[in-house]
């Protein structure tokens, strides 16, 4: 029963659940703060996190800084041990899986710290050597693809170049599971594009990709499903299109003369309407059709519609208390 490359996810028989690559059940992680000598307290970084990521998907893990993204990832890599709850990666807990499990994972840390006189090439060769030599042959082609100079000392590399070193070491051994923490930070737009192409290719080879970010635009081009984490909890889990729909667009219209706000009020998808003389601003979710038809009664001299960023979405979540299931259902298709 061997399967063709890239068909792992689709060959599963209809009706059977897809293979779960990452699963967490009620994952809780507390950090102890203070010291022995001062008053001790605990900060709850993960507060009952439930997540399932399926084989072959690209999964986006979104949240503001400090929401618990890196904590979650570091539990998956057995750097941190859960306070309570359960985590499983490729069918085994990170602690039990140990080095054998980590051999199957490629990891790009969110804050990559490297230094020393060695060159980038030396460091990558060293990392491959600890992996038993797996991936050594891919260092040069990957470096060329990302335009990384392997002969430069790591100490002198820019943030972007260090990030390239991180990307190469995460991909070089063709891991089954890629865990990428804020992967495109520090990469210029051209390289971001190249990086996303690498993610897609890895997916086509059958890899599962779990990538975190605090910007929606970073993951929406490659991810199918996205979870939003806030204060250690998943507050939303959706496919990217739905999330984008929910995020909506910030629309601005400028008319030739002042307009009346009334006809715009209550149009489908129009929220937070503000009309100030000849200026109209609103938040638009869904199709712009109704809004445009009403606007077209006047002479429109300027228009702009910007996708809202995730930060705005978080603001929504903070503004409206989340009602668990209802919230997800509310903006589902």
């Amino acid at each position: 029963m061997s399967s063709l490359p890239g068909t792992t996810t689709t060959t599963s028989t209809r009706g059977t659940a897809p293979e779960v690559v990452i699963r967490t059940d009620g994952l809780i992680k507390d950090y102890v703060t203070g010291s022995r000598f001062r008053e001790r307290g605990a900060v709850r970084a993960l507060d009952g996190l439930d997540l399932e990521i399926h084989r072959g998907e690209v999964f986006g893990f979104l949240g503001p800084n400090g929401a618990g993204k890196s904590t979650m990832i570091r539990v998956l890599l057995d750097q941190l041990r859960p306070t309570a709850g359960h985590a499983e990666v490729l069918g085994v807990t990170p602690q039990r899986g140990g080095p054998g499990l980590r051999a199957r994972i490629g990891y790009l840390p969110g804050e990559l710290t490297m230094g020393g006189r060695s060159t980038a090439g030396d460091l990558l060769a060293h990392l491959a050597r600890v992996r038993g030599g797996v991936g050594t042959d891919r260092i040069r082609p990957l470096a060329e693809r990302l335009t990384l100079d392997l002969d430069k000392p790591i100490r002198g590399l820019s943030k972007g170049n260090k990030q390239k070193v991180g990307v190469v070491q995460a991909f070089m051994h063709r891991p089954e599971l890629l865990i990428l923490d804020e992967p495109t930070s520090g990469l210029d737009p051209l390289l971001q594009h190249e990086f996303l192409a690498m993610v897609r290719e890895a997916q086509q080879d059958g890899a599962t990709v779990f990538m975190s970010s605090h910007v929606l635009s970073e993951v929406e081009l490659v991810a199918e499903r996205v979870a939003i984490i806030r204060q250690g909890r998943i507050v939303d889990l959706d496919d990217v299109a739905t999330l984008r729909h929910h995020a909506g667009q910030q629309v601005e219209l400028a008319f030739a003369e002042p307009v009346d706000a009334e006809p715009f009020r209550g149009l489908p998808g129009v929220e937070d309407l503000e009309v100030d003389g000849a200026q109209l601003r609103c938040l638009l979710r869904g199709e712009p059709d109704a809004l445009l038809k009403v606007a077209a009664r006047h002479r429109v001299v300027r228009w702009s519609a910007e996708d809202r960023e995730l930060e705005d979405l978080f603001l929504d979540f903070y503004r409206v208390p989340v009602r668990d299931d209802e919230e997800v259902a509310h903006h589902g298709h």
Binding site: T8, R104, T113, H126, R129, G132, R174
Partner: protein
């Protein structure tokens, strides 16, 4: 169905297969990073040893004897200058009880605290610990890097002192110089391992430094003050520094019990630190 493309689904059958043929990748990496440092310390150590042994003919046995005569007995005892008017006594008072330990301790304690806890605090250890390598192995390979470097420095010390002693025709047995340096190596290794182990157990470089330096200084003080205190024999017995130098290795050769005790400190420290490091949260 045959295909040339390596697929991940096919490779997932390798579940749990650990990399083979990687040798001591971590040790050799750390040593490469340390190359310059080891060369620097070797030069410094050789210079200090050569300089002090070189003073011996200039000062001469007679001058030393006079110097000591003019000093209060307690001070002579505290400084370990009782035998300074002999060649072994001179070597012990200068190089083996003071400058050698001081230089090597600074190196070993600094390295021990930095190579694990320090790199963890800086975030430099994160990548390595997410590779398919057991945490305990990471700790042991980094310990091994310390052993290798201290062996190099001990070798430099032996080479310098022995060649000076032979050149100046001093009355010290070469075998005893080797024995004393072995003792020094074991003492310094024990203190460096305390640093490494305390750092690895807590993730705090500062705690590693305090543990290594604290025990080293306390054991030196205990050895120095024990003769001055009535009934201070237990202090001497409890001092790892005395286990190294109390048996007068420069005249008596290897002091097996003492040296064994130093090895035991290293072994016990590792035995305690390994499981703690394997169990705790990293980098928090």
């Amino acid at each position: 169905m045959a295909t040339d493309t390596p697929t991940r689904s096919a490779r997932s059958g390798d579940a749990g297969v650990l990399p083979r043929r990687r040798g001591l990748a971590v040790t050799s990496w750390v040593l490469r990073q340390q190359r310059r440092a080891v060369v620097g310390w070797s030069v410094a150590l050789a210079a200090v040893c050569a300089l002090y042994v070189g003073f011996y003919p200039a000062i001469g046995d007679q001058d030393m004897a006079q110097l000591v005569e003019g000093m209060p007995d307690a001070l002579v005892q505290a400084l370990g200058y009782e035998g300074i008017d002999t060649a072994p006594g001179y070597l012990e008072s200068t190089i083996f009880s003071l400058l050698g330990p001081a230089l090597l301790l600074v190196f070993a304690i600094g390295f021990g605290a930095r190579v694990l806890a320090g790199e963890e605090e800086d975030g430099k250890l994160e990548l390595e610990l997410t590779l398919p390598v057991d945490r305990r192995r990471v700790l042991l390979e980094r310990f091994l890097a310390m052993v290798v470097q201290l062996l190099v420095l001990a070798g430099v010390m032996i080479a310098t002192v022995v060649s000076m002693v032979l050149a100046l025709d001093m009355d010290v047995m070469v075998a005893n110089i080797v024995a004393a340096t072995l003792g020094l190596f074991l003492f310094v290794l024990a203190m460096g391992t305390l640093s490494l182990g305390a750092g690895a157990s807590t993730g705090r470089k500062a705690i590693g430094l305090v543990a290594g330096a604290g025990v080293a200084v306390a054991s030196y003080m205990a050895h120095a003050l024990a003769p001055l205190i009535e009934g201070g024999g237990w202090l001497e017995n409890a001092s790892p520094f005395a286990w190294y130098l109390g048996g007068e290795p420069l005249t008596e050769g290897v002091h097996w019990a003492g040296f064994g005790g130093l090895v035991a400190i290293t072994a016990v420290t590792l035995a305690v630190a390994l499981p703690v490091f394997a169990r705790r949260d990293l980098g928090v």
